[in-house]
């Protein structure tokens, strides 16, 4: 035991190993988080779509109890047996509740595993590669769609940093000083996937879909990039972790209610920030290829768009790539505008102070056992709370994405391009000048 602890200490004491191990752990966490969120957002999407259209959505997928019979259980209705075992009468409200929850037929999961069932279905489908496609590109295209958003997510901070006895861990996979640029670079890369898919399919509708995707993504990339320049001017950093830290201390970009956020300058800056927010959110919708901007795959005029010729897991990777892009886009919006992991109302600063104080008391000789445990965990508790805040915001924003999708009809392609080049581009440029003026004149 002592040997293991010694080993651990010496490995973690080495800065290189410490960095490597923590980074891999964060990487795994972020990856799992994203994939879980993809699954969750598919579920959210379908449930919300159902509710908005006055129907339940997929609420049935559970683990059917007749599976137990397959595995040798003789009992047809285990529920009855269990109720009898616990002495619950068959017509009591508990029994009724159980029947209402369909416990007599399945272990209910409220449809939560529907996406997994869908995934399994897609996995088992026949993999078709038409003979006329360009094989290499055809196979590479789905990876280009799924990969870049996953890489882009590396710079997203999902919590603040925590001090351990070996050193500080910054809760984002790569704390790059060019975080924002990194995200733009990689989310721009995913357009190659769509274009390649359209072109390699060697078929006209995918081709048109791919072309549309290219045109649309490039135009919205411009509007998107320009729209957050005011924000970067305000924070004067490109590091996402620092941006969030700043927001935690001085008020979220859109909710400047504490810290320096109460100054006149920040309140005047709210106007350009709101404009930025609108443009940015719209562009994120367009970038993620979501309705009302899903020109690349609008099934009414393009069969299935760029992935018409794809089937089975290749199709699933397009599907997933889209949802990853949506999740990463939402995360970026909340990171830039809604405070990322920050809990808000100045609570972050208080919590950080509390954690520091607890650590000092904990390391004191006179500390009780309870205090020293608290001293060790305080930092982690704070990080966990912030992580929860991040997740809550992310879910809320994914809900917003879905909500918009089931509300707005699709734009026409020329309207989409017009909106980007004739409206957003101009407004974004003016917005930059406006922000510069405000920053210069109002101190």
């Amino acid at each position: 035991m002592q040997f293991i602890i010694d080993c651990w200490n010496s490995v973690m004491g080495d800065p290189t190993w410490f960095y490597l191990i923590t980074t891999i752990a964060k990487l795994a966490l972020m990856f799992i988080l994203l994939l879980l969120f993809v699954v969750l957002s598919v579920w959210i999407e379908r449930r919300i779509a159902g509710w908005i259209q006055d129907r339940p959505g997929p609420n049935r997928t559970g683990i059917p109890i007749h599976l137990l019979q397959r595995f040798g259980s003789k009992e047809k209705q285990p529920l009855k047996k269990w109720l009898e075992y616990f002495g619950v009468p068959a017509n009591s409200w508990i029994a009724k509740l159980c029947t209402w929850l369909r416990l007599d037929r399945e272990i209910p999961l409220f449809g939560l595993i529907q996406p997994m069932a869908d995934g399994a279905k897609l996995f088992l489908k026949q993999e078709m590669t038409p003979s006329y496609v360009r094989k290499g590109f055809f196979i590479a295209a789905p990876m280009f769609v799924l990969g870049p958003p996953l890489i882009a997510a590396a710079v997203l901070p999902f919590s603040s940093s925590v001090d351990t006895c070996y050193g500080a861990i910054n809760m984002c996979v790569a704390n790059l000083n060019i975080g924002v640029l990194w995200i733009f670079a990689f989310s721009g890369l995913s357009v190659y996937g769509l274009t390649l898919a359209g072109w390699a399919s060697n078929s006209k509708f995918p081709f048109i879909g791919g072309l549309r995707a290219t045109a649309q993504l490039i135009s919205y990339e411009v509007a998107m990039g320009l729209s957050i320049i005011p924000l970067l001017m305000m924070f004067s950093t490109l590091n996402l972790q620092e941006i969030v830290q700043n927001q935690a201390e001085n008020g979220w970009t859109l909710v400047p209610l504490w810290g320096e956020g109460l100054s006149l300058q920040r309140w005047v800056l709210l106007l350009p920030m709101c404009i930025s927010f609108l443009i940015f959110v719209t562009s994120v919708f367009a970038e993620a290829n979501r309705t009302p901007f899903d020109m690349a795959e609008c099934e009414t005029d393009l069969v299935g768009g760029y992935h018409t010729e794809y089937s089975s897991m290749k199709f699933a990777s397009f599907f997933m790539g889209e949802y990853v892009a949506m999740v990463v886009g939402s995360a970026l919006v909340i990171t830039l505008f809604l405070g990322g992991w920050s809990i808000g109302l100045g609570a972050d600063v208080c919590l950080a102070d509390w954690a520091k104080a607890a650590a000092i008391t904990g390391s004191d000789q006179a500390a009780t056992c309870w205090q020293s445990i608290l001293g060790c965990c305080a930092g982690w508790i704070v990080v966990l709370l912030q992580f929860v805040a991040f997740i809550v915001k992310l879910v809320a924003f994914v809900f917003f994405f879905v909500w918009v999708r089931w509300t707005l009809p699709r734009f026409r392609f020329d309207q989409v391009m017009k909106l980007s080049w004739l409206v957003f581009f101009e407004i974004a440029v003016i917005n930059i000048l406006l922000t510069a003026a405000i920053l210069y004149f109002i101190q």
Binding site: I52, R55, L278, T407
Partner: protein
């Protein structure tokens, strides 16, 4: 002028910015969401729906008594009121069936039987329910009004062989139709 050009409405700036319209739309859909979740959707009573929104949760609650008369369920063979097999095995349904679900093996009618005049009756008549697409072409084409679409829509099989319905099954499902087809009477 033979036509009148449509007057396009002139949109104000507020309309063209969309934001108000989008907000209104979002409110509308959110209202639907809330109403569906609190089980107060509009027209809910009309459907007597027990699920979320307007949905009837299927196996528990069924639409059966609202099935329209013209509903096209599984095709079945029928007998006349005189319990005569109406089918004369002309095989028109077999030829028209787009899914090639029907197979008719024509046979002769016993000369001693009361409906000997029709001469032919199916020896075997199978409908493959795995193939049938419930199009109703067979019912449409039959010159003898012998094949009808029933209201049966729930065909859940646990056994593949049961999917191919033979003559007995089809007659059992079809039952007896009112209204005589008189052309095979002795008097005609």
């Amino acid at each position: 002028m033979s036509y009148t050009p449509i007057k396009r409405p002139k949109f104000s700036l507020a309309d063209r910015i969309y934001i108000v319209a989008i907000a209104k739309g979002l409110c509308r859909t959110f209202k639907h969401l809330v109403l569906a979740l609190t089980r107060r959707s509009r027209h809910r009573e009309d459907f007597n729906s027990k699920g979320i929104g307007l949905c009837m949760p299927f196996p528990e609650q069924r639409w059966d008594e609202r099935l329209p008369e013209y509903y096209r369920g599984a095709p079945t063979l029928v007998r006349g009121e005189d319990s005569r097999e109406r089918c004369v095995s002309c095989q028109l349904c077999e030829f028209i069936c787009p899914a090639r679900a029907i197979t008719v093996t024509p046979g002769e009618v016993d000369p001693a039987s009361p409906c000997a005049k029709q001469e032919k009756a199916p020896k075997e008549f199978t409908i493959d329910m795995f193939r049938c697409i419930y199009c109703g072409m067979c019912e449409e084409v039959c010159p003898e009004q012998a094949i009808f679409m029933s209201q049966e829509y729930l065909i859940t099989l646990t056994d593949r062989d049961k999917g191919i319905r033979d003559k007995e099954t089809l007659y059992k499902l079809g039952g007896v139709r009112k209204g005589l087809v008189n052309k095979w009477n002795d008097h005609k």
